[in-house]
Symmetry: C2
Subunit: 197 residues, 2 copies
């Protein structure tokens, strides 16, 4: 029981108390359910891998998106983590393909360009199929630094490089936006006809 | 005491319990402090008015911003409420002038164009001094409808009309952005050299 709790604490957001509660829940539930959870974990680890093309978590090689001929192979959306690509995918607003960096630059944590999937990204860009790279790293310190680094690396290749918009969230109120976001929102203003079109 | 509590309930976010607590606090504090609060309320109401030019709350006519020759009179930022103009002002990212609509279009609440300061806005635009109008109404249903309405009204005058950017807030994570905001953030992506410049 204690060994299980110790292992569960390796999950994000699980401290000693939650770990003990989870371990007790796994003890009280039916044998079938407990074995089901354990088996699903092993099964997931056996069946999933990273797509060798884009770095997404997938059961198929290439992944569903890389293998879909209906997707626009001229537009590449670069994200930090597989979960970010899934977030963009849920918007149904993007029909291109993805490239997962598996992190963001963070020199203090020892994460430099070599720790990220940047070489494979450059290799993909050099095939000439991609015309636009959308840098969709998170709009925080590490993500912005990563976007700027990639921009400097990719621009000389003559590709269109764009950055997702930062601004006041939809449904939000100017009064509740932080000052830096509101300043960016003003700086990033666009002619209205473009936006409504 | 009960009469005071009833009046205090007219403040936003103040229910019966908070009103009673505030009334008791006003009873327990020093005579000078209580009279100070009452006097400050009356004083504020006597001394402030709306700037006849921009609609901001002000003690001076014209307001500090309309009267400042260093502000750029060619760029006008249109907002719903005085508090929104103050939010933009806090960013220190805007050097033009403001126009407060005193609300947003909301037909279901009986708020049409005639209930907003739209006629005075058009009168200002027709002086020829203003070259760009930034529609900084809130990025929610009413604010978006108001921006679109104003865009259609102002565009024929040949002015540049822009809308503040909607997107993932600074410091945010793509995973925690709602889908509509993330979709807008993608649609509103910009060439990176423009943004870093």
């Amino acid at each position: 029981m204690e060994r299980l709790a110790l292992f569960l604490r390796r999950l994000p957001g699980v401290g000693p108390k939650t770990a003990a509660r989870l371990a007790h829940a796994l003890y009280r539930m039916s044998e079938a359910d407990a074995r089901g959870i354990a088996h699903a974990i092993v099964d997931m680890r056996e069946k999933t891998r990273l797509c060798p093309a884009c770095g997404q978590i997938t059961e198929d090689v290439p992944c569903r998106i890389c293998g879909d001929p209906a997707r626009d192979s001229a537009v590449l959306c670069v994200v930090e983590e597989p979960a970010n690509a899934q977030a963009v995918e849920r918007t149904r607003a993007f029909r291109g393909r993805y490239h997962v960096l598996h992190g963001a630059l963070s020199p203090l944590d020892g994460i430099g360009p070599d720790q990220l999937a940047i070489e494979p990204l450059l290799a993909r860009l050099k095939t000439g199929e991609i015309k636009e790279v959308i840098l969709a790293t998170n709009p925080n310190v590490k993500g912005e630094a990563t976007a700027l680094y990639l921009f400097r690396l990719i621009q000389p290749l003559g590709l269109r490089v764009s950055r997702i918009a930062t601004g006041v969230p939809l449904g939000g109120d100017l009064e509740y936006a932080d000052e830096a976001t509101l300043a960016r929102s003003l700086r990033g203003r666009r002619p209205l006809d473009e936006q409504t079109g």
